[in-house]
């Protein structure tokens, strides 16, 4: 688990957000934007390193805080990207910000995906809707170190074509042969040439080697059970499947108690859980 060096020094207040400047904003869909942030303090920025799957607490004083997954790859230095959906107070306030504005971040927090373990294996990534946000970091990471991984399959579903995030990038990737990428939507429009239907339907179209493959899932709460069923049907090992959860959080550091899932806390024990662990967490899936 990686944490910003600053927290390991005694006497640093882990609730204190560090000012970070918004260096770019990209409109993805009507409700989602991609923000690029740069921590202003040189020392903190230099010490900030993270794993794919970890999150930060994004702070806008006067409004509040919200946990947001880091979408960029750990290899990208000096900047982090957050893909944020307008869902309430903090996220709307963030959407109202402009380039150059300052917000606060704390983190990174939580347990990310086990990259060391996954290396040398095939990877099957399944995302639903906004669940692509944390997986995007993983995808970019794999892309940056492509030779370290075997076959990479990405299944990504959204409600309609307008809600497909990072489409500009995925459209390019569809033609690459080192990634198998399948997009699907529940409700297509005239321009849609990819798949139609739930993301689980895509499992018919792929072939994986269950003994060599790591799975990673992130999406709306209802999605997990069905996707896991498909993975099990493909005979993947339960302890090679990883799921990333969303829960309410007020601190990000295992104190406020809101993110409890079974006997664990999503913020420090997750948000990425091994499915074997998750199976043993009451109320998790």
């Amino acid at each position: 688990m990686k944490t910003a060096l600053a927290y390991q020094q005694a006497g640093v207040n882990p609730y204190r957000p560090w000012p970070a400047r918004i260096t770019s904003i990209l409109d993805l869909t009507e409700k989602e934007k991609l923000f690029e942030l740069r921590i202003i303090d040189d020392e903190v920025r230099g010490a900030f390193s993270f794993d794919s799957g970890q999150f930060v607490e994004l702070s806008i004083f006067g409004v509040g805080e919200a946990p947001i997954s880091i979408s960029s790859a750990p290899s990208k230095q000096g900047f982090i990207e957050l893909c944020v959906r307008e869902a309430g107070d903090v996220t709307s306030a963030l959407h109202a910000k402009r380039c150059g504005d300052i917000v606060g971040i704390r983190g990174p927090f939580g347990r990310g995906f086990p990259m060391q373990e996954m290396k040398g294996h095939d990877v099957l990534l399944v995302a639903g809707g906004l669940g692509i946000a944390p997986l995007k970091s993983l995808i970019n990471h794999i892309h940056d170190e492509r030779h370290e991984f075997g076959k990479v399959t990405i299944l990504y579903g959204a409600r309609n074509p307008d809600e497909i995030l990072f489409r500009y990038q995925f459209d390019m990737w569809k033609h690459r042969d080192d990634f198998e990428l399948i997009l699907t939507v529940d409700v297509p429009d005239d321009t849609w040439t990819d798949e139609v239907g739930r993301v689980t339907r895509l499992f018919e179209m792929i072939e994986i080697d269950p003994k060599k493959t790591y799975g990673a899932i992130c999406g709306p709460p209802v999605m997990y059970r069905y996707v896991i069923d498909e993975m099990r049907r493909k005979e993947m090992d339960v302890d090679r499947i990883y799921v990333s959860f969303e829960r309410r959080m007020k601190c990000g550091i295992g104190k406020c108690g809101h993110c409890g899932v079974g006997h664990q806390y999503t913020c420090i024990d997750g948000p990425v859980f091994n499915y074997w662990e998750a199976m043993n967490l009451q109320e998790a899936i």
Partner: protein
């Protein structure tokens, strides 16, 4: 640890001595009950108290507290200092000292909580032995004893106190402010018999051996629905609990809207929105699931991390709950499968 004997009549000396150097907080009377409050005079101190309305956690983790002050324009923290006056909390029972130790695990380990720590470090703890009451069941968890975490502990031997001294500060204070003597073998024997009598005084002993397992095995038991139907979702249980630590965080802007304070306040997993997230999803929508979670977390979640149950058997929640829901009842129901 070393031990001394202090004559009962010396108690006011000790309190006055402490008051000369520290703010002294201890059990005082309020409306026929007791609260931890400022002890202005040794006679205010009510060491005969059964339990206090709120546990001492309020002194370290207050119901509402400012975490930091900020400026809106540049999103900067302008102040996150905690001022903690040196003080002594006098007269803690072993359950409450144990409660603090359990809170320490949360607030003083990974990602130390600076607010809690500042207050904790500026405070000396003086424990005092107690007698069991109807609602206590500390004997179920072994929290009727406390072996560390205090500076001084006084065991009442009638005409005198058996004083266990654990910290250097405690030793110095005792030395400076009160006359005491070495213990004799008689004192030790009496200490042992008083302690044994205390242990025998509990009206029942709960069987807690299989709790985590039972909690999982009976996760879908109808007993939770019955409890859920009774629960008022008032959160009283969490407020009065010495080991409940959940909080909510809110930003409050000053009237000019240019600056403000980030504040936290006690929260309860019994409240409907505790586990609600965006897009209408609520992971614990039903009252039953919330009542269940409180016990699940206390007796399994916390245990899985710290090898202790997050309850010290003080019985405060049972006293506070108008619906009469209590850990004792829940533990028994898990054993027998039904709610009375």
């Amino acid at each position: 640890m070393f031990f001394r004997i202090m004559d009962r009549s010396r108690m006011p000396d000790l309190v006055r001595g402490l008051a000369a150097e520290y703010e002294v907080i201890g059990p005082i009377a309020k409306d026929g009950k007791f609260v931890f409050g400022k002890v202005e005079d040794p006679s205010d101190l009510r060491l005969d108290y059964d339990t206090t309305l709120l546990p001492p956690k309020k002194l370290f983790f207050p119901p509402e507290e400012q975490m930091m002050r900020f400026r809106v324009a540049d999103n900067e923290v302008v102040d996150d200092e905690v001022y903690a006056a040196p003080r002594v909390v006098f007269g803690l029972h072993s359950c409450d000292i144990n409660g603090l130790l359990l809170m320490d695990n949360v607030f003083m380990r990974d990602y130390e909580d600076p607010y809690y720590r500042a207050r904790r470090e500026s405070t000396l703890l003086v424990g005092v032995s107690c007698t069991s009451s109807e609602t206590c069941f500390c004997n179920a968890w072994g929290t009727d004893e406390v072996h560390w975490g205090f500076d001084i502990f006084l065991t009442d031997l009638g005409d005198r106190y058996f004083v266990s001294v654990q910290s250097v500060k405690g030793a110095e204070l005792l030395d400076r402010h009160v006359e005491s003597r070495e213990i004799t073998s008689e004192d030790t024997e009496e200490f042992q018999s008083v302690t044994a009598a205390f242990k025998d005084s509990f009206s029942e002993t709960l069987d807690t051996s299989q709790l985590p397992l039972l909690l999982d095995a009976k996760f879908n038991s109808p007993m939770w629905d019955e409890l859920g139907d009774r629960c008022l979702s008032c959160g009283a249980c969490s407020m009065v609990c010495p080991t409940c630590y959940c909080f909510d965080v809110v930003d409050r802007l000053a009237p000019d809207q240019k600056s403000g304070a980030r504040e936290r306040r006690w929260d309860s997993c019994q409240f409907g929105e505790f586990a609600a997230v965006a897009h209408g999803q609520n992971f614990r929508e039903s009252r039953a699931s919330r009542v269940k979670y409180r016990y699940y977390h206390k007796q399994w979640g916390y245990l899985s991390k710290f090898e202790r149950v997050l309850c010290v058997g003080c019985g405060r929640c049972q006293r506070a709950c108008l619906a009469g829901i209590s850990p004792r009842e829940v533990v028994k129901a898990l054993e027998t499968g039904g709610v009375q």
